[in-house]
C-alpha cells in the first residue's frame, strides 16, 4: 500500500479522530487531515510495513498539531463559551474531556490519543513519537491514571449507565 489514495482510504478516519481530540475542533481536524495528505502527496511514501507507514503519517500529524497549538498561542481565537443551561450532558462530557486533554503535556496527550482514539499499536506510536515501546506502555498507563482522576465524574456516570443497561438486559 504505497499509493496516496490507498493511504488516504486506510488512515483518514483515524487521523481525523486523533485531530478532533488533539485540537478540540472538528473543522480544524478536517483541515489538518487534508494537510497530512497534501504533504504525503508531495513526498515519497516509505516502502515499509503498515505499522511503520502509520508511524510516519502520525509523525506528520503530530507536527501539524504542534504547529497548530503554536499558532493558537500566537494568534488566539476568541472562544464563545457555550451556554451552560443549553448544553447537553454529552457536550459537558466532551468539554471536560477536551479540558483534561489540554492540561496534559503534549507528548503524553499524543501518545494517549494515538492509542485510544486512533487505535495505533505501541510500536507504531513509538515510531511516531520517537520513543521506545516500553516508554509508550508506561506513558499510556500513567496518562490513563491521571485522566481517570481528572474525569472521575463522567467515568462514574458512564460506569453507572453501563451497569443499568446490563441490569435491564438480565
Amino acid at each position: 500500500m504505497a499509493d496516496p489514495e490507498g493511504l488516504f482510504a486506510a488512515h483518514h478516519q483515524r487521523l481525523f479522530r486523533y485531530f478532533c481530540r488533539a485540537v478540540g475542533r472538528a473543522e480544524a481536524a478536517r483541515d489538518l487531515t487534508q494537510e497530512v495528505f497534501l504533504r504525503v502527496s508531495r513526498s515519497s511514501i516509505p516502502a515499509a510495513a503498515d505499522g511503520e507507514v502509520s508511524a510516519w503519517l502520525f509523525r506528520i500529524a503530530r507536527n501539524l498539531v504542534l504547529d497548530h497549538h503554536r499558532d493558537r498561542l500566537r494568534h488566539p481565537e476568541p472562544t464563545v463559551p457555550a451556554d451552560q443551561a443549553t448544553r447537553s450532558p454529552s457536550q459537558d462530557v466532551d468539554l471536560a474531556v477536551n479540558e483534561a486533554l489540554a492540561s496534559l503535556p503534549a507528548l503524553d496527550r499524543d501518545v494517549f490519543l494515538m492509542r485510544e482514539v486512533a487505535g495505533l499499536g505501541y510500536d507504531a506510536i513509538a515510531g511516531a513519537c520517537e520513543l521506545t515501546s516500553d516508554a509508550v506502555r508506561s506513558r499510556i498507563h500513567r496518562t490513563r491514571l491521571q485522566l481517570r482522576d481528572q474525569l472521575a465524574a463522567p467515568i462514574a456516570t458512564t460506569r453507572t449507565m453501563a451497569m443499568c443497561r446490563s441490569e435491564k438486559q438480565r
Partner: protein
C-alpha cells in the same frame, strides 16, 4: 497502583502481557475497578463528531483524461504546424529569377583525332 497495574493497560490495548501478572492484578479489587474505569475512560474520550466527508487533496489525483488531452494537444500542434508551413510555402514561393546568361548548347561532332 501505578506501574503494578500497567499490565491492565497492556491487556486493554491488546499488547503482549504476562498472564500471571494480569491474574494477580485482577485478583485485587482495586485492579478490577481500574479495568472498569479504563474501559469507561476509553468510551468517553471517543470524539463524538461523525467523520465528515474529507476528500483527498487535489494534487494526489491524476485524472485519466490527462494523458489523452496531452496527446490531443500535441497532435493539434503538429497538424497546425504542418498546415501553416505548407500554406506559407505555396503562397510565398517567388518566381524563378530571369537568366543572366544564356549558354547555347553546341552539339559535339567528333573530328577523328588522335588515339
Amino acid at each position: 497502583m501505578g506501574s503494578t497495574h500497567e499490565v491492565i493497560s497492556a491487556f486493554l490495548d491488546d499488547e503482549p502481557f504476562d498472564s500471571q501478572e494480569l491474574a494477580d492484578a485482577l485478583s485485587d479489587p482495586i485492579g478490577r475497578a481500574l479495568l472498569i474505569d479504563l474501559i469507561a475512560l476509553r468510551r468517553i474520550v471517543q470524539p463524538g463528531d461523525a467523520v465528515p466527508a474529507i476528500s483527498a487533496p487535489g494534487p494526489m489525483r491524476r485524472p485519466a483524461w490527462r494523458p489523452a488531452a496531452a496527446a490531443a494537444v500535441l497532435l493539434l500542434a503538429l497538424s497546425a504546424g504542418y498546415l501553416v508551413g505548407e500554406r506559407r510555402t505555396v503562397a510565398s514561393s517567388p518566381d524563378a529569377p530571369p537568366p543572366t546568361r544564356i549558354v547555347q548548347a553546341v552539339p559535339f561532332i567528333p573530328t577523328g583525332g588522335s588515339r
